[in-house]
Each structure stands twice: as structure tokens, then as C-alpha cells.
Amino acid sequence: MVSPGVWIASLIDGLLLGFVYGLAAMGLTLIWGVMRVINLAHGPIIALGMFGVYLLFAYGGVHPYLGLFAVALLGLLVGILIYAIAVHRVLTAPHLSTLLATFSINMMIIGTGTALFTTTPRNIDISLGRLVLGPVVLLGTRLLAALAAVLIAAGLYVFLYRTTLGKMVRAVASNRAAAELMGIPSARVLAFSFGLGTMLAAVAGGLIATFFPFTILSGGAYELKSFVICVLGGLGNPTGALLGGLILGALEGLIPIVLPVSWVPVIEFLLFVLLLLLRPQGLLGER
């Protein structure tokens, strides 16, 4: 019989992780929502975020949480670059073209990354101590990562609903031609939105790197999680992504109590398939 304390501790641990998963998924869902592109370079971007924080810390002595700001900026710029080089010209082509274009970017990042960094696992050696609340022990790094994810998600919401540029992003997402006719430079707004999506992915990667070891290939697993989360929350819905992240995080916390940990992806993807069959619009979706 597992004590209730273990259940609570695992649930909270999973939820903390879930916020970060949700953040990564928001990047994927934002890009889909604005321009109907499934970014198959999402995973490698997450891995680049991990390496960004790691390299700045290991070689530049930059504190990981400070490094995150640099990683955010780089994530934005890399995304804009990817959009300009690979996405913009195939944006109006059938979906297969954007899938292939972003998949090529995926392969390029992984190939270059493997050559540069090999696939030896790295980790960022920091500790923020732990918080003990009765039976619940919380790692400081996870607590801070969850807090950062919540703040960034709130920031994204404020940006999209309260600033002119954010509203332009929504306008272009809603009707690109009409936005252009009203004087909104839609190509630039799209490039920026793509950058915003990759920024979220890179930052999520940087946060994950503060508590899990990683290689350049690690992004793939989180990319798959992002897909499950996006479908849970309704593709294109950032708020839904956060909710989906929490659900996935909770599952990851709780399943290992009753089953071997290797069952986690099995159950996650079973959920994914069931959702696609029963509620493809997502838990929060309307249509």
C-alpha cells in the first residue's frame, strides 16, 4: 500500500514538470495557430535551448537563470531566421512542404549538434536546495522552473491580448489578407510569431536542462510530448497547452507509483490516440 504522502509528492512533482512541458507545447501550438505550420524542428530547438544554457554556464560562467534570457533572445532570432530561410517561401504550399522544410531544419540541427557536441549526456550542476513540506519534498530547480513557466505563459497572454503587436499576431492568424489590407506587414508578423514559438521552446529546454541530463537528441522526446499536449489542449490554443502540460506532468508523476516507468510513454500515447479518436478538437476546443 502506497502512502498518500507519496501520491501527493509525486503529483506535485509531476505538475511542476507539467508547467514546463506546457511552456514547450505553447511554442508549438502558437506557430500552428498563427500560420498552420507544424514545426518539426521543435525538438531540436528545445535541445538548442538546453545547450545554450549549458554552454553559457560551463564555458562563460553565466548563471543558468541569467543564461535563460540570452537563450530566449537567441531562440527568437533563430526562429525568425528559420522562418525567413525555410518556412516563408512554402507557407502557402500544401502542408507537406512546410513539414519537409521544418524537418530539414530538424536534421540540420541534429547533425551539426551531434558533430559538435557528440551524444554524451551533459548536465548543469546547480542546486537550489529543496523545500520540505511534510511528506512532500520539492526540488528548488523544479519549483523555479515551474514558476518561470507560469510567468512566461502569463506574459504571452498579456502580450497577445494587451499589446498592439500581440493583437497584430492574432489578426494575422485570423485573416492574413485582411490584416495586410489594414496596413499590417503580415510577413514580418509571421516571422516574429515563428520566432516567438521557437523562443518558448528554447526557454522550456533551458529550464528542463536545470534538472535533467540531456544530449542534442533529447528534444525529440519533448517534441512528442508537445504533440500530445497540443492535442489535449486543442491545437492552436496556448491556454489549452498549459492545461495539457499539467495533465501530462501529473501522469508522469503518478504512473511510476503503480507501474514500471517505461509504461509512461505507452499510456501517454494511448491517451493521444484516444483523444484523436474521441475529441480531436482537444479538451478545451469548441468546434
Partner: protein
């Protein structure tokens, strides 16, 4: 001098040419109408002038400046504003947000407050519904919002593409009353309409488009008396 001068414009979709050497001019402060049957190229004309479709040949001059190849957003920034066919609102954004998105260019932003007041005076219903999502408005309200959004952009020329489409007869009359008021305020407009009778009645000048070519042009009153027009479009 004409405010907008379109010179020998040709364009189309893919391999299919729709417009053939189209030339027309818009004089400042005048309401010009472009009429013609379905598929005659009216919407294509507007889309080509605005830059949503790349012109094949020909030129567009605005205030004597060649703007043929500018993208739509640059043209909008100069004051060429189009109310597209089928409203094309930002459906999941509120009425107020739609109006804000009308006023993103530099010249519109500085007059945001005055224009908002003007638009709410013109369409009091929009003021009542300013926090409602545009997609939940009725058809008539959506058309009001589409025009209001365009007016927020501080247009120097307003292009109206089939504004009466899908409106009840009463709403069509309201719409034309609004257009008449805008005309009285001195706004330069190009009206593309299926409702030929009403369009000719309120316009100063008319062009008749047929198979992508200008078939006839002249003061609206004279065009309305033309036998071909009476037979083909007015059912007389």
C-alpha cells in the same frame, strides 16, 4: 489631377488572364463605381490595385507616384484602404480590437481618438457591442464593422468590394445612406457593386466592366441611361 490612375493593367490567376489593359482614374472627392456582371473582373481589379494579386503588366499611380508593385500593407499605409468582399473581419477578436487593428498605420494612429468617435457616431450599434467578438455579430453589424475598421485606417481612398452582398433590402438602404454621408464628407471612393441600380444612383462616375475590359465609362447618370446598361444590368 486624378488621385489614383490605373494604366493598362493586366492580371489574372495562374495562367488565366482576367484583366485586359484596364485603365481608369479616381478623382479626389468623387464616388466612382465599377459595375459589371459576375465574373467580369471587378473584385480582381480591386485585388490587383491593392497588390493582393501581382499585376502582369500596366501601372498604378497614386498622387502621381508609381505604386504598382508595392505590397498591400504599404499601400494601406499610404491611405489606400479596402473593405474586402465578405467582410473579412478578425472573427475571434472583439469589435474594439478590430477597430484597433484598423488603425495600425502611422497616419491612422495619430487620429485614433477622433476616428473612433466618428465611427461610433456613424454606427452607434458598434459602440454598444464593442466588447463582443466580431464573429458573433449579425450580418449587417459585421458589414458596419468592416466599414468602420476601414474608416479607422484614415483612408484617402476607400475601396468597397460588394458591400451590399448578403444584406436585407433595408440594410442595403442603410448602407447606401452611409456611403452617401461619407461622400458628402469628401471621401474619395471606388464602389464595386452588384446592385447596379443603387450604385449608379449615388455615384458621380461609372465604369462598366465586361470580360475584364472597360466596356463603357462616363458620368453615372449618363451610364444609367445607356441602352446596353439598361438591358444588361438594370433589367429594363
Amino acid at each position: 489631377m486624378a488621385m489614383l490612375e490605373v494604366h493598362s493593367l493586366s492580371s489574372g490567376y495562374g495562367e488565366v488572364q482576367i484583366l485586359w489593359d484596364l485603365s481608369f482614374r479616381l478623382e479626389p472627392g468623387r464616388l466612382t463605381t465599377l459595375i459589371g456582371a459576375n465574373g467580369s473582373g471587378k473584385t480582381t481589379t480591386l485585388r490587383t490595385v491593392m497588390g493582393l494579386i501581382r499585376p502582369w503588366r500596366g501601372a498604378v499611380f497614386f498622387d502621381g507616384q508609381d505604386i504598382t508593385m508595392l505590397p498591400p500593407y504599404r499601400k494601406a499605409a499610404m491611405g489606400l484602404i479596402m473593405v474586402p468582399e465578405g467582410r473579412q473581419l478578425f472573427a475571434d477578436m472583439t469589435v474594439m480590437e478590430n477597430l484597433e487593428m484598423g488603425a495600425v498605420t502611422g497616419r491612422a494612429r495619430v487620429r485614433f481618438r477622433q476616428n473612433l468617435e466618428r465611427v461610433f457616431n456613424l454606427f452607434p450599434r458598434l459602440k454598444e457591442r464593442r466588447n463582443q467578438k466580431a464573429g458573433t455579430l449579425s450580418g449587417g453589424e459585421q458589414q458596419m464593422l468592416a466599414i468602420a475598421r476601414a474608416l479607422m485606417a484614415e483612408p484617402r481612398i476607400l475601396f468597397l468590394d460588394e458591400p451590399s452582398l448578403g444584406l436585407s433590402p433595408l440594410l442595403v438602404l442603410n448602407l447606401f445612406e452611409i456611403i452617401r454621408r461619407l461622400k458628402a464628407e469628401g471621401l474619395t471612393m471606388l464602389l464595386v457593386e452588384q446592385n447596379v441600380h443603387l450604385a449608379l444612383a449615388i455615384s458621380d462616375y461609372a465604369y462598366v466592366l465586361s470580360s475584364g475590359r472597360i466596356e463603357l465609362e462616363g458620368p453615372a447618370r449618363e451610364v444609367a441611361r445607356d441602352d446596353r446598361v439598361r438591358k444588361a444590368y438594370l433589367g429594363l
